[in-house]
């Protein structure tokens, strides 16, 4: 593996190997006073963030540091990008300083893919527009494996702003690869146009990017009893330029995860949220804090999953191109 740009690139074997490595790293660090492994000594990881982030950036930094890599953080707001430098020039500059790996978050879909063609470094996509956020999907899969044992045959319901969600896109592709069934629930305005025509048709027959073998509904209550894991998405106001629903209150009544809805989920079902949460909007505060919610587990697994990705990209012999 040279880059991690999209979960569509991950075959079952690769995805499973990454998750197994994350689990082994978690075990290796369990109960240790000094959480430091020498594995990536002398390797330099640059995080290049053109969008705000708390958990993803911090998580990559911690993952790199626990494996003894040197981690440099660049945020666009405080960099030469604010003076008008292009992404390409910034990336080439960082690569010239010896970055072995660039972790990029950018508001434009496809930014990570472009970057991978410009620099010799390994590129990890930490979120590009509404396209992909592969490490988020991997940490969600790791959390679901912990809680449900396996993803094979499990039904994962994704509710909320699917239209703008790179988390949803990444998860759909990864979780289906791992054997899960995906059900999307959202108001029609927050689903990609024409998705009802794609879903269920041509599943696996041609390009998975274009046809999602998912089922789609608009009624959250109807979906709850058959759900093994409920993934609640944030309503991304920063990407909404127009009226997608009448009011926050109305969205919350129809699609918010309330305590009453939590009770209608099966006993074993687990609740995920990629964060940051809007409590009272898409998820009630009491639900977010309940033991049924695996939200802090997701964050904890995020560090191990990112360590695993860095290990697979940086620790082995360079693949011959």
């Amino acid at each position: 593996m040279r880059h991690l740009l999209t979960t569509a690139d991950l075959q079952f074997e690769t995805a499973t190997a990454l998750l197994d490595t994350a689990e082994a790293l978690k075990q290796a660090l369990l109960g240790r006073e000094v959480r430091k492994l020498p594995t990536l000594r002398g390797r330099t990881v640059v995080t290049l963030f053109y969008e705000s982030s708390t958990r993803t950036r911090a998580s990559f930094e911690i993952a790199g540091k626990w494996m003894s890599a040197d981690v440099v953080n660049v945020s666009a707001a405080a960099s030469s990008a604010a003076k008008g430098e292009s992404l390409r020039d910034t990336a080439i500059t960082l690569a010239a300083m010896g970055a072995d790996c660039v972790v990029i978050r950018h508001p434009a879909s496809g930014a990570a893919h472009r970057l991978a063609g410009w620099v010799p470094a390994h590129v990890i996509n930490a979120g590009d527009g509404t396209h992909q956020h592969p490490t988020q999907a991997l940490l969600d899969a790791a959390t679901l494996r912990d809680r449900l044992g396996t993803l094979n045959g499990r039904t994962v319901t994704i509710v909320g702003d699917v239209l703008h969600s790179r988390v949803a896109r990444s998860n759909i592709q990864l979780l289906i690869t791992l054997g899960a069934r995906i059900h999307l629930v959202a108001p029609p305005t927050l689903l990609p146009w024409g998705i009802a025509n794609w879903s269920g048709q041509n599943s696996g027959a041609h390009n998975r990017e274009q046809s999602w073998p998912v089922t789609v509904g608009h009624d959250l209550d109807a979906a709850l009893p058959g759900t093994d894991a409920l993934m609640v998405l944030r309503v991304q106001a920063e990407r909404m330029h127009g009226g997608f629903f009448p009011s926050a209150r109305e969205y919350s009544i129809s699609y918010g995860l309330t305590e009453a809805r939590l009770r209608r989920l099966p006993e074993h079902a687990v609740v995920l949220h990629p964060g940051p949460m809007l409590r009272g909007m898409e998820i009630a505060a009491s639900v977010a804090d309940s033991p049924r919610a695996a939200i802090t587990d997701q964050v904890r697994n995020g560090v191990h999953v990112r360590m695993a990705v860095l290990y697979h990209l940086l620790a082995a012999q360079e693949e011959q191109q």
Partner: protein, 190 residues
């Protein structure tokens, strides 16, 4: 778990058996006696190095208990993250590390592996051990010592010394991982 030599049958012209199943059993019993002699009455912590050090460590632990020795714990120690040759090979999968509940501080630790060759695995294991605690002493037990050390490392307990050439491969087969017990040697080139 696949055999270290793929599916090739034992006894093919380029491969011959060095130790039989009975030899392996006798050697494990002998090393168990030696560990008791050298360490009693101090209890020891046995740590197997994956992959084939793990079944070996459990067999050794069973024999030591059977012969009246005392164990402070049995565990496994994956050294992959501490290797100095990671960047010379494709990605190595990680194996589980399970340390005894008592930890390694002030313990008498015996590392257990199948083959001692360059010594680099053991060097990585010593680095890994240091991360988990400060043992009173660390010793090394191996089923086969095939020579060609690249580091100043020697084993305290050796099942069998086997003079080899670097072109040869030594394969330890164990029931738990390979379905049969044997040590075989195969002549190169690969």
């Amino acid at each position: 778990m696949s055999s270290p030599f793929g599916t090739g049958a034992a006894g093919s012209p380029r491969q011959h058996e060095l130790l039989s199943a009975a030899d392996v059993a006798r050697i494990v019993a002998r090393i168990a006696h030696q560990i008791i002699e050298r360490t009693a009455p101090q209890p020891v912590v046995l740590l197997g190095i994956p992959t084939r050090g793990v079944p070996l460590v459990h067999r050794l632990a069973d024999r030591i208990r059977e012969f009246g020795g005392t164990l402070a714990g049995v565990g496994t120690l994956d050294v992959t993250l501490y290797r100095d040759d990671l960047r010379r090979r494709p990605t190595r999968p990680l194996q589980p590390t399970e340390l005894p509940a008592g930890g390694l501080d002030d313990a008498l630790v015996v590392l257990v592996d199948d083959v001692l060759y360059s010594g680099r695995t053991v060097a990585a294991a010593l680095d890994a051990v240091r991360e988990y605690g400060r043992p009173r002493a660390v010793q090394l037990a191996v089923l086969v010592d095939r020579g060609h050390r690249e580091l100043p490392i020697r084993a305290d307990y050796v099942g069998k010394n086997v003079p080899t050439s670097p072109e040869e491969e030594v394969g330890v087969l164990l029931v738990e991982t390979d379905g049969t017990d044997a040590v075989v040697i195969r002549r190169g080139p690969r």
